[in-house]
Structures are given as structure tokens and as C-alpha cells.
């Protein structure tokens, strides 16, 4: 019991959202990750994003694999349905769950080991299916739970805490997503909440596979000199390519913007993403230009961030499979079973 009586006034952050819930209602249980872990900042941004979108918690399905990042769904939206599955297998479980019930909002949280090593195949094919979900990779270049081995996203020459240098070429989830036809690709930094929250919201609203690679330094095993996923390195090399702002469907668009520098894209649910180009000639809808731009800048050691690529036209898994408007789980059995008369007729073909 607190020793002082709480004031009756609401803290400004506890203002209720459109469905009457405060940001507290989108929190989960206490994090058991190391103090200062980048993942906790991402968790806070996810809490913020769902709160601002006023998503009913129980309509959220939060899934993960195994690893430090995959522990985090416990720490956000306690009222959501969670599924902490097996190492690298979350994309398939999310695919089946989504196939059964498209009415939920799907968020998958994964790490660089979970997504780029053991689960690379599953991630690649979830991208190909254009599964409608937000897929967050909390990328720290290291295996934390098993104490500091390099992951597949570690840069060549990046040093481990013990001082060994990684010599295997890294897998870059952004370039991977581009080559596989991901329809929403973003990169951000766990320490940049102002950029991350709108990206998460846009990723949730996007109908299709929204991949967000979030550089998230590991304070225990990968935040030293020589690491290219440390706070210091990331802050030094971060460059914002596009500044994006997300306007949910419910919010009236009043702001005027300069046509010359800002582009807006309407998502399928009617919400709008506004891009302000920080880099000249950057068009997030032209895959070839995006690829060229990223190769050029990443080659110079820079870490371009923002909503890097967006394609709102490709059909998602459900559109490809021509499923009904509502969840398959809601289709009454009477519509699923052809009945005895049909069985009799059908069996004439097996005579």
C-alpha cells in the first residue's frame, strides 16, 4: 500500500483514448530484461502505439519465438492474447492464426537470432505470403540469453565482448525484405521513440507484411567499443531518410503540407502516412531506387532509418486466397459440411 494518498487528478499521460482506456491498460507485466535494454524502449513504444490507435486489447494477438526479444510480449498489452512459441517458428504460427481469424490485429516480436538464423526460412516465406501483421525485429547483433554469441546480423569486423571479430557476412533484414517483396519496410532505433511510435502505428494499419528492423543495443553483451550495434555507434551513424508521420483514420487531416517535400499515402483502412523527404529524390515506393539508395549509404557505414519502402497494392495472404470478409472461424458449420445428400451424389463418381 502506498504511504501517501494518490492525487485525484489524472496524469496527462493517463488520458483515456477513444475506447476509454489509458496507456496503463496497454502495459504488461514487469520486464525481466537487463536495465537499459533497448528492447524495453521498444516495448514502451508498442504500448504507446496501441494506446494511440485505441485497439481493443483482446483483439490483439501478440506472438513471438524464443530469445530476449521474444520475452517482451509479456511486457506489453496484458489484455492481449499472447503466444510465446518456439525458436524461429513464430511466422508459421502467425500465418495459421491469421488464416483462421483475420479480424485480430497481429504483432510478432522477434530478434535477430530468431528471425535471421533459426527462423530465416519462416520469415522469408511469411514475407512472400504478405501476411497481414506487424513484424518487429529487435536487432542487437548478439545472442543474449546464451551469453554473447554473434548473431547473423552482426557486421563483419564487429567485436564481441570477449574481443573476437565477426568474420561472417551479415544478413540485413531491410535488404532481405526488399528482395523478397515485403510491402512495408522500416528501420528505426530503440532510442528514438519519436520516430518509432508512428512507424509502429503505420505498420499496424498497413494491410500486409510490415517489417520493422529496430536496432536495439544489448547493454550486457553488445554495447562496447567495436560493436556496430551499440548505443554509441548507432547514434553516431543514424541518418533519417524519410520522416514519416501517421494519421489514423479516425483523426481529421487538417495539417497543410508542402507538396514539394511531403507525400502522403492512404492505407487500406483509410489512415494516412505522410512522408517528409529528408533525403533528396527518395521515393519509398520505388523498390529499385530504395535498393540503390540503401546500398550506397549502408556501404558508407550509415544506418538509414524511417519508412524505407511501402507498397499498398500487393494483395495480402487472405486476398490471394479469396477468403471471406470475416474470420473463417465464424463461418457456420452448415456452410462447411456438404451434407449426406451431396455425399451420396459425390460417391457416384467413385463407382
Amino acid at each position: 500500500m502506498p504511504s501517501i494518498k494518490k492525487p485525484a487528478v489524472l496524469h496527462p499521460h493517463l488520458r483515456p483514448n477513444a475506447i476509454g482506456l489509458t496507456v496503463r491498460d496497454y502495459e504488461g507485466s514487469m520486464s525481466t530484461l537487463c536495465a537499459g535494454c533497448g528492447h524495453d524502449s521498444i516495448t514502451a513504444a508498442i504500448v504507446r502505439a496501441f494506446y494511440e490507435l485505441s485497439t481493443p486489447p483482446h483483439m490483439i494477438a501478440k506472438l513471438s519465438g524464443i530469445g530476449c526479444s521474444s520475452k517482451t510480449p509479456t511486457y506489453f498489452v496484458g489484455g492481449a492474447h499472447g503466444f510465446n512459441s518456439a525458436h524461429g517458428r513464430m511466422p508459421s504460427i502467425a500465418s495459421g492464426a491469421n488464416a483462421a481469424n483475420k479480424e485480430l490485429t497481429y504483432i510478432g516480436v522477434s530478434g535477430d537470432g530468431d528471425s535471421l538464423s533459426i527462423g530465416l526460412g519462416q520469415l522469408a516465406h511469411a514475407i512472400r505470403r504478405n501476411l497481414n501483421m506487424l513484424y518487429v525485429i529487435e536487432n542487437n547483433g548478439v545472442y543474449g540469453l546464451t551469453k554473447g554469441q554473434f548473431s547473423a546480423s552482426a557486421d563483419v569486423g564487429s567485436k564481441s565482448k570477449r574481443g573476437d571479430a565477426n568474420q561472417y557476412s551479415p544478413i540485413d533484414p531491410v535488404m532481405l525484405g526488399l528482395s523478397l517483396g515485403a510491402t512495408f519496410i522500416a528501420r528505426s532505433f530503440s532510442g528514438d521513440k519519436a520516430q518509432l511510435v508512428p512507424l509502429l502505428k503505420a505498420g499496424i494499419a498497413h494491410r500486409g507484411f510490415a517489417l520493422i528492423d529496430v536496432i536495439s543495443p544489448c547493454v550486457t553483451f553488445n554495447d562496447h567499443e567495436g560493436s556496430t550495434k551499440s548505443y554509441l555507434y548507432t547514434r553516431k551513424h543514424l541518418m533519417q531518410v524519410v520522416q514519416s508521420d501517421f494519421v489514423p483514420v479516425a483523426q481529421e487531416i487538417t495539417a497543410e503540407y508542402d507538396e514539394g517535400t511531403t507525400t502522403s499515402v492512404t492505407l487500406h483502412d483509410g489512415s494516412v502516412v505522410r512522408f517528409t523527404k529528408v533525403a533528396a529524390d527518395y521515393d519509398p515506393r520505388d523498390a529499385r531506387k530504395v535498393t540503390a539508395y540503401l546500398q550506397e549509404h549502408q556501404g558508407q557505414g550509415e544506418v538509414p532509418t524511417g519508412l524505407l519502402y511501402l507498397d499498398e497494392d500487393r494483395p495480402d495472404m487472405h486476398a490471394i486466397n479469396n477468403t471471406p470478409e470475416a474470420a473463417l472461424t465464424g463461418v457456420p458449420y452448415g456452410k462447411l459440411c456438404p451434407g449426406s445428400a451431396a455425399l451420396s451424389r459425390l460417391q457416384e463418381e467413385y463407382r
Binding site: N98, H125, L328, T329, V331, L343, Y350
Partner: protein, 604 residues
């Protein structure tokens, strides 16, 4: 030179030796179907290679008026269409039998046998004179030998004509070619050969209320009728046709007439790891979902089958078994996944298994699998095999009760959740040791965290020994509780039986025939076919009632016997094995010889 001119009606076996990829499957299928339509019990076994074109393939047809459908090893007639296997095929004809060959070329003298009759039909010559294209000349040779068989075996030509018209209703030129080839073969045999052979066909009415169907199609039909909406798979022989059939049925019956949308979602996954993941995800969300696979797929799926077991998520896995280990022989049959399925995955896991013995049971067990998976909130594996799955079987017409409604097991509704103070996933348990589950999105109070990591009875994460054990102990009780719920064993006891026989799945037809054959020799046996795992008290009683029991199965390591010794009270010494695992379907001769060779001299 007819050594025995004993006329046998509707009781013989023939084998057709072909080269795969030359169109023989169509002719052989027509023959089998024509015999079926004549009302005569018949079975066909396709012994095919893992190859697309050019390797030897055989098709065996057994006609048996009493309804024995197991593979026969005595061939009255062999149609030798593959020069590469001539020598072997000639050897396999029973003494006094016949061999039909293409006499366009002289038969190699070294292949001659004095105790069989050679029937030469110039198939290539005939087809070369009728048809112009090389392709047609090859394909139609099959139909031409079919024509000769029609004459030799007294197949009803009217029925065959009718079948061709059905088959090629929309392909008139093909119909015409088939008719010409069929007639050419028929006329030649009628004019030049002694027709009919001493063994031949006569119309019966034994198949009037029956259908001719393969097990994979029947399984798919069961999944359709059970209301499965999500299916995920990775192509693999011999299970691929399960999903092909399911897709076909869905296209026919699951397109919403009002909206034109599909009331199903079939996902071809990147591998079996993902296929089972999809099934589990869909099951978690409340859909009836399944996957079809074979042994190699079971190996890959084992990881997540353990997740579904521990997190208690319904899932249905159809395993159409083929020969292992490793890639093994993909187009040959075996029952060698019994143990890997019973205990699939690391840690303490035990699963519910169903053992269908025919396409008929494939249909009913598929429905039952979904019922059990949802009632016990756990994976259920259907262990079919290549022989059942890919061969056409004559089975009674399938029946459906329109009053059937899926029993989704203990799933809380929004109203029930609303009335609850608080929901906990893994307690309280019912008599089946099953706790109620919730489906995502139904009600705010139903939200919980599903995990494959250690959890307590409230669903919370735990590393505390007692809390962990409490949950896994309940899972063991739950598995035991499923014993009386799986399909009951089929037991055939006889007065004066001196021993028992236990078998399962695709062995059944051969074992039943063997029990009859042994009986004719004065060797009386009781027979129990187990149809599911865990084993219940009826299995225990049968084991207890016999001092000597032969366990007949199709694998090297006696896996059913092992499972019985581990999971029942039987003493190991009582159980002897009869094993056949070369990859071809079991014959009653394997069973009879396997048992009599182990009986003390003088017995029987």
C-alpha cells in the same frame, strides 16, 4: 499346354508389368474399375517407382469373390510390357499360368518356360498400323492389351465402353483412339487365342452398394465433412494426394454461393516445420486445421507437435507412412512411424494415434481425429500408409449423419467468460483432465499467454518443480483418459483358439485372410486389430487372455509390439513378431508362413 484346366470364376490374380510414364496407369485403372462395375470384389495394388518416367512399375489386380483384398503372391496371368523386367516377370507366373507379351518381336528363347502358356499379341504392330503419332502409338499399346484382357477374362465390353465414354466425354478424338485400340486388342485375342482363359470373370452383385476409392481421397473427404477450414502442408509422397483431394473438394463445396469467397484457406508451406506451425496457429484461434505428411515430415514436425502437446492446442496430422529411415523408399509402404508418432518431440510427450485399415476408416477416423483433438486439446495423428492412401479399395458406401455437429470441446463463450470472476487456462480440469480454453478475440477476460515454456496450472510462467510437475502429471492423466475414447479394437474370437494375433492398419485384410487360411489347416487363432493409442482395457483383456500372441506389422523393429510392452501390463515374452517390411503391401502368405514357422512342430 494346359496342365490344369480347372475353371475358376472370379478368383485369380494378375500382374501388369509396365514402364512408368507410358500411360499404363490409365489402362490398368480401367480394368480394375470395369471388374468393380461387374459387381465383383477386386483390389488393385500399384507398385510404382519414385520416378517420373522410365523405371519399372507393376500393377497387381486381385479378383476374389469372397472379398479378400490383400495382395496375392500367386499370379495366374502376367502382362509383360517391360523388356527390362521380362526375366523376372516370367519367373513369377505360377506353374500352369499365363504370360501375355508383345509378339511384335520374338520372345527371347532364354525366357521360355515349359510350365506356362505364352500369349503373344502384336501390340506394337497393331498400334503402329492404326496410329500415326509416336505418342499415341506408345499410349494406345496399353489400351490394346486391355482389349486383349477383355476377351481373355470375359470383361463386360459394354461396361468398358460406357466407362470410356464417361472418361473422354469432352475429348472425342481421344475416345475414338481408345475405342480403336481396345477393339484391335480384343479382336486379335478373340480370333487368335483361346478365350476365355480357365480363370475369368462373371458378373456378381457384391459391389452394388460399394465405392472404389483411395484412402487419401477418403481422408480429405473426412476433413471436409469434419469442417476443417485451414489446411497447411508441404508436398511429399505419398501424402500429396490428401491435399490435392481436399483442395478439389473445397473448390466444389466450399465456395460461398452468395459472396463467391472461399470458406477455407489452404497454405502450401515452405516446409513441414511451417506446415505444423500453421496448423497449431489456426487451432489456437479455434479453426479445425490439419496437415498431411509422411515420415520425413513427422521428423520435422516433431518439434512443434511437442509445443501443441504442452500448450494443449488441438491439431490433426495425417501421416501416410512410407518406408524409412531417412528418404527410404518414398513410393513403398511401411508402418514404421508408430513409435516416432506415439512419442513425437523431445521431453515427456505422448500422443493420440488412430490406425485406419482402409479408406472407409480413413473417412470416419478423420472426423474422429478432429473430435478427439478438440476434446483433449492435443495433437491427434492418423497413421495411414501408402497402400491404403494411394491404392483404390472397394469399400462400403460412406454414410453421413446430418445431425452431426462438431464438438469443439471445452471452449468458453463470451457469456461464460463475462460471468466468471477470472479465467485461468489450465484449471480447473474435468473428468478427462482437460481445462477450458478460450479463443482469442472472444472476450477481454479470456486473454492469456500461451507458452511452450514451463507453466503452472494457472497458465503463468514457472520454474518451480511442484508447479511444473502438477501440469505435466495432468497431461499424463489426460492421455490415459483418451484410451476409451479412441476407436475400440476390433476383436474376432473363435472357439478353441490356441493363440492370439494382434495387428493394425493396412495389415488387416491380409491378417483376416490368414486367420481363415490357418483355420482351414486346423490352426485356430483369435484376432484383435488395435485402432487407436492409448490402449484401453479391451486391449489389456485380450493380452491377458492369451498366453501366446503374434504381433503382425510392417516394420523391422516390431514397433507395435514395443508400444504394447511399454504401454500395457503384458509381459514381453508373450509377444512374438511377424514382420514384413520390404515395402510392398502385406499378403496373407506372409502372415501364415510367419506364424506357422514359429509354431512348435506338430501344432497345426
Amino acid at each position: 499346354m494346359h496342365q490344369e484346366r480347372i475353371v475358376r470364376v472370379n478368383d485369380f490374380a494378375l500382374k501388369l508389368a509396365n514402364v512408368n510414364g507410358t500411360g499404363s496407369a490409365s489402362a490398368n485403372g480401367l480394368l480394375m474399375q470395369a471388374i468393380f462395375r461387374m459387381g465383383i470384389p477386386v483390389s488393385g495394388k500399384n507398385l510404382f517407382p519414385s520416378n517420373i518416367q522410365g523405371l519399372p512399375t507393376w500393377y497387381e489386380v486381385r479378383v476374389n469373390k469372397t472379398g479378400h483384398t490383400a495382395r496375392a503372391l500367386e499370379y495366374d496371368l502376367i502382362v509383360a510390357m517391360n523388356a527390362e523386367t521380362y526375366a523376372r516377370d516370367v519367373r513369377e507366373v505360377r506353374p500352369g499360368g499365363y504370360l501375355l507379351y508383345d509378339s511384335s518381336w520374338p520372345l527371347d528363347a532364354s525366357l521360355a518356360r515349359a510350365d506356362i502358356t505364352f500369349l503373344g499379341v502384336p501390340l506394337a504392330e497393331m498400334c503402329n498400323s492404326i496410329f500415326k503419332s509416336a505418342r499415341e502409338r506408345i499410349l494406345m499399346k496399353n489400351i490394346a492389351y486391355l482389349g486383349a484382357l477383355v476377351a481373355l477374362l470375359d470383361v463386360d465390353m459394354e461396361i468398358l465402353d460406357h466407362m470410356l465414354e464417361e472418361k473422354y466425354a469432352r475429348k472425342k478424338p481421344l475416345l475414338e483412339s481408345n475405342h480403336r485400340a481396345l477393339r484391335a486388342g480384343y479382336d486379335y485375342a478373340k480370333n487368335e487365342l483361346d478365350c476365355p482363359l480357365p480363370f475369368h470373370l462373371e458378373k456378381m452383385h457384391a459391389t452394388d452398394d460399394r465405392i472404389l476409392i483411395d484412402g487419401n481421397t477418403a481422408t480429405a473427404l473426412g476433413c471436409l465433412y469434419a469442417g476443417a477450414t485451414v489446411a497447411a502442408w508441404y508436398p511429399i509422397t505419398p501424402a500429396t494426394s490428401v491435399m490435392d483431394a481436399f483442395k478439389g473438394f473445397c473448390e466444389e463445396f466450399r465456395k460461398d454461393p452468395e459472396t463467391g469467397t472461399n470458406n477455407y484457406c489452404i497454405l502450401q508451406a515452405e516446409d513441414e516445420l511451417a506446415a505444423i506451425g500453421m496448423v497449431i496457429g489456426a487451432g489456437w484461434n479455434g479453426a479445425r486445421a490439419f496437415t498431411s505428411t509422411a515420415g520425413p515430415g513427422i521428423s520435422l514436425m516433431s518439434e512443434l507437435i511437442g509445443l501443441a502437446y504442452y500448450a494443449e492446442i488441438p491439431a490433426v496430422v495425417v501421416d501416410v507412412q512410407r518406408t524409412g529411415p531417412s528418404t527410404g523408399m518414398p513410393t513403398r509402404t511401411q508402418q514404421a512411424d508408430i513409435l516416432s508418432c506415439a512419442y513425437a518431440s523431445h521431453g515427456d510427450t505422448k500422443h493420440i494415434l488412430l490406425f485406419p485399415s482402409s479408406p472407409e476408416e480413413c473417412f470416419y477416423f478423420a472426423v474422429e481425429a478432429f473430435e478427439l483433438a478438440e476434446r483433449f486439446q492435443t495433437p491427434v495423428l492418423i497413421l495411414s500408409d501408402l497402400d491404403i492412401g494411394m491404392n483404390d479399395w472397394v469399400i462400403p458406401r460412406l454414410k453421413w449423419d446430418d445431425a452431426y455437429r462438431p464438438n469443439r470441446g471445452r471452449v468458453l463463450t463470451a457469456a461464460e467468460l463475462e460471468a466468471m470472476p477470472k479465467f485461468f487456462r489450465y484449471s480447473p480440469e474435468n473428468a478427462d483432465h482437460v481445462a477450458a480454453r478460450t479463443l482469442p478475440g472472444v472476450h477481454a477476460k479470456g486473454a492469456f499467454f500461451t507458452r511452450g515454456s514451463g507453466h503452472n496450472k494457472l497458465g503463468g510462467y514457472t520454474e518451480i518443480p511442484d508447479e511444473y510437475q502438477e501440469v505435466v502429471d495432468r497431461l499424463a492423466r489426460k492421455h490415459r483418459a483418451a484410451a476409451p475414447a479412441v476407436p475400440a479394437p476390433v476383436i474376432r474370437n473363435q472357439a478353441d483358439a490356441t493363440f492370439g494375433i494382434i495387428s493394425l492398419g493396412g495389415c488387416d485384410a491380409a491378417v483376416r485372410e490368414a486367420v481363415d487360411a490357418l483355420g482351414e489347416r486346423g490352426i485356430i487363432a483369435d484376432y484383435m486389430r488395435v485402432r487407436g493409442f492409448p490402449f484401453d482395457e479391451r486391449v489389456e483383456s485380450f493380452l491377458a487372455a492369451h498366453d501366446r500372441i503374434f504381433v503382425v506389422e510392417q516394420n523391422r523393429d516390431a514397433q507395435l509390439r514395443t508400444l504394447l510392452t511399454m504401454e500395457t501390463r503384458v509381459s514381453k515374452e508373450k509377444l512374438r513378431s511377424v514382420l514384413a517390411y520390404g515395402g510392398f503391401p502385406l499378403s496373407s502368405r506372409h502372415v501364415v508362413d510367419g506364424i506357422t514357422s514359429q509354431l512348435p512342430q506338430g501344432e497345426g
